[in-house]
Amino acid sequence: MNASATSTAAATTSPTNASVWRSQLGTYLGLLAVLAGMVALFSSLSEYFWSTETFVTIANEIPALAVMAVGMTFVLIIAGIDLSVGSVMALAAATSAAAILQWGWTVPAAAALALATGLLCGTLTGAISVAWRLPSFIVSLGMLEAVRGSAYVVTDSRTQYVGDAISWLSAPFFGGISFAFLLAVLLVVVAQLVLSRTVFGRCVVGIGTNEEAMRLAGVDPRPIRIIVFAMTGLMAGLAGLMQSARLEAADPNAGSGMELQVIAAVVIGGTSLMGGRGSVVNTAFGVLIIAVLEAGLAQVGASEPSKRIITGFVIVAAVIVDTLRQRRAAA
């Protein structure tokens, strides 16, 4: 070590924790600014936007997207991708509906079945891509198709009306906020802690950065990869439950195209598709940005073309703002 390095290192040793916190907060600032800007804009455009009701509505709309995005964050960090989440969500909803309606299962049993379905699908995606060392893109694309087909089979290609058996999950519960929302928030917090504070989380980051180095350090990446996909499947299963609680129906077409929305939320949150970098809390901001944008545009009654054009711009602009802020902070 030379002298200057010594002093720098010494100087930064103690304030490390504080500065870590500051820098952590810093990483949220860009996205927070985008979010605040959007809320301000919509509030000025629509008289009812700035209201508890709007925010409660948004809060109750996002859980399904949010929990899938939590799983997807881990998938992207290991440099994978899971295109099947939308289909898995539909299948999970469909199996629970079939369990309740056709096989007369109790609601908890049916809910467990939905979760198990998601877990199984995710495990399959992970196991196939690990076993044959295939890109998860293609495996999950195959799953997207196969699982969607299964959802058609299970629902008999008809929307299954479930009724309010499981609607408590999405029913207003505390100041209008649903249980599903609280669950989603809890999952975001837990997942962030798992990512940054557990051995598993550190292995996930390491595998995404340099799988070979991790392997040489004695960490077998295969089970970890499978677990990440399995958990994402589980999250999609949970999302399916949340969705069918909200719709009181299992729609075989539910969540089609949703994979891109989920990935967009994660990427807006700054997680890299190349792996090794990501944050669940930032993903949550990405989810909020997408949800606020959608709600705001619907409320101001934007025409369909302008909606799409604005959405496109906002997605890119959000990432630009965030990127520039991160770079400025790094410099």
């Binding site: 030379n2 002298a3 002093s7 490390t16 870590v20 390491g206 340099n210």
Partner: protein
């Protein structure tokens, strides 16, 4: 120094019987070797001789095609690195294997992170990491620093620290000092002494012969995958060793005269970037080699990158001087002018006739998955194409020439560079600039991991370039190499160029003293005239 004789000369700690390894070709064959507790066995040989392969077999990273091993009287067939480590056999790999997004501490303890029910125990983690780092003199690095922020030399030290563990019985070090300067090397040798005193056996792979003399008890020489010689180090001269390795005598260059320097070709004035490089001024002359010495992290790589436009300086300038004879080059817009903040991009530098052999070949030099052919011609595709279409015949001929000239050991020019041995990879990077010879060539640790024979070959090329009037700048952590090759040696410390010596003025001591010196006027805040309160002594 370690004991000069094995603690128990009769029963080896590890015995290797008839080990062989085939990839598409045979790279190791019939290797019989015994390793004794408490000894340092040097493993040496040319690039591609099979040293890394043999090391990897010892550590479970590769499985031998033939033969077997006996550890402490028991059959030893490690199936993985993990498995080898359970037997106390550890290895510092030739290529860095750290995860840049994780912290130093996490890298050090990866695979055995302290936890309670899966949750990291940060305090325990950092304490363990600090202890580990202290062993090798890195106690000033904050274990919470992401590895991405360390220089490559520091990374090498972290890699070494990771393997200094109490349960180690055999430690294999594959060119651990290729990136290190004397200070770090000394720390490492101290550790080796501690380990051997405890009865640990060391396998030490290096191309630096003077190092082998310092620490090795015995030396084993591999040639073309076969063990050609194993004998005590004592009483063996460097020349003997070289001859055993390459089968011929390599000339000593240390006492050559200074080359005649021509006009200044390129100069830097007050070039700086952040705190990594602090206002460096230097002039490169035609026909001479300017060496740069300095400790790990002193900013040498950063300086070279600024000169090449790989990073943009934030102050100072670079000046290129016109070439009197060559009118064609004169036409280049960058000629004969001062460029504020240096070249804007490598493209501009190359257009102006400046080349760079990068230090970190893996991440900045090579396309590992691509064949030698593609890698070797990368910096001058116009020479192997016509109207944008590649001329395969031309390219093949050119590349065959390099392969022969530099003795790149490969199956064919179509072999992916990633499959070559480390030293051979380095030769491919070098070949690229043989292919496109400009006026200035910047070399950052050009002989890293290159064997003595090939090294002589590279030196020959450098000599030729210098005699043809090119200006060369060579960064090296190997002082002997610098003293042999350079006409002038600049020494960097903490981002500043603290001294420049002419050939004949320097000695190992004076160079080292400069490298350890506190750069004049340098303080935490460069504008402040007060000496920094934090300036510690090394």
């Amino acid at each position: 120094m370690p004991p000069t004789s094995p603690t128990n000369p009769t029963t080896p700690l590890l015995a290797i019987h008839d080990v062989g390894k085939d990839y598409t070709a045979t790279v190791l064959d019939g290797v019989n070797l015994a390793l004794f507790a408490g000894e340092v066995l040097a493993l040496t040989g040319e690039n591609g001789a099979g040293k890394s392969t043999l090391s990897k077999i010892l550590c479970g990273l590769e499985q031998p095609t033939r033969g077997g091993m006996v550890l402490d009287g028991q059959t030893y067939t490690p199936g993985s690195r993990r498995d080898a480590e359970r037997h106390g056999v550890r290895m510092v790999m030739q290529e860095l294997g750290l995860v840049p997004t994780l912290t130093v501490a996490e890298n050090l303890l990866m695979g055995r992170l302290p936890h309670r029910l899966g949750w990291l125990q940060r305090d325990a983690l950092h304490a363990a990491a600090r202890a580990q780092l202290a062993k090798i003199g890195l106690d000033t690095i904050d274990p919470a620093t992401p590895v991405a922020q360390l220089g490559i030399g520091q990374q090498q030290m972290v890699e070494i620290a990771r393997n200094l563990q109490d349960d180690t019985r055999i430690l294999v070090l594959d060119e651990p000092t290729a990136m290190l300067t004397p200070r770090e090397t000394n720390y490492l040798f101290e550790q080796i002494a501690h380990l051997t005193a405890r009865g640990v056996a060391i396998v030490y792979v290096s191309h630096r012969l003077e190092e082998l003399r310092r620490i090795a008890d015995r030396v084993a020489v591999l040639r073309d995958g076969r063990l050609v010689d194993v004998r005590p180090m004592a009483g063996m001269s460097e020349d003997d060793l070289v001859q055993r390795m390459v089968g011929r005598v390599v000339s000593d260059l240390e006492h050559r005269p200074r080359r005649a320097a021509g006009p200044v070709v390129m100069s830097a004035e007050g070039l700086g970037r952040g705190t990594a490089v602090q206002d460096v001024s230097l002039a490169l002359r035609a026909g001479e080699i300017f060496g740069i010495a300095g400790l790990v992290g002193s900013g040498r790589t950063e300086l070279v990158r600024l000169l090449f436009g790989a990073d943009r300086a934030d102050r100072g300038s670079v000046t290129l001087y016109p070439e009197p004879a060559n009118t064609e080059r004169q036409a280049s817009p960058a000629m004969g002018c001062t460029i504020p903040r240096g070249f804007a991009s490598p493209l501009q530098a190359i257009a102006a006739g400046v080349g760079l052999v990068t230090e970190d070949r893996k991440s900045q030099g090579l396309l590992l998955s691509q064949p030698i052919r593609i890698n070797a011609t990368l910096s001058d595709l116009s020479a192997v194409s016509r109207g944008g279409w590649l001329q395969r015949g031309l390219e093949n001929r050119l590349v065959q020439g390099f392969v022969r000239k530099l003795g790149i050991r490969c199956r064919s020019a179509e072999q992916p560079v990633g499959q070559l041995s480390g030293g051979n990879q380095q030769k491919v990077v070098f070949a690229r600039w043989l292919h496109r010879e400009g006026r200035v060539l910047l070399l950052d640790e050009p002989t890293r991991g290159v064997d003595v024979g090939a090294r002589a070959e590279l030196y020959g090329e450098l000599d030729r370039m210098a005699s043809e009037g090119r200006a060369l700048l060579m960064v090296s952590s190997d002082l002997h190499e610098l003293m042999a090759m350079a006409d002038r040696i600049g020494v960097m410390s903490a981002g500043s160029l603290v001294a420049v010596f002419e050939r004949g003025e320097w000695s190992e001591q004076s160079l080292l003293a400069a490298a350890f010196s506190e750069p004049g006027g340098r303080a935490a805040d460069p504008t402040s005239s007060l000496p920094s309160s934090s300036s510690a002594t090394a």
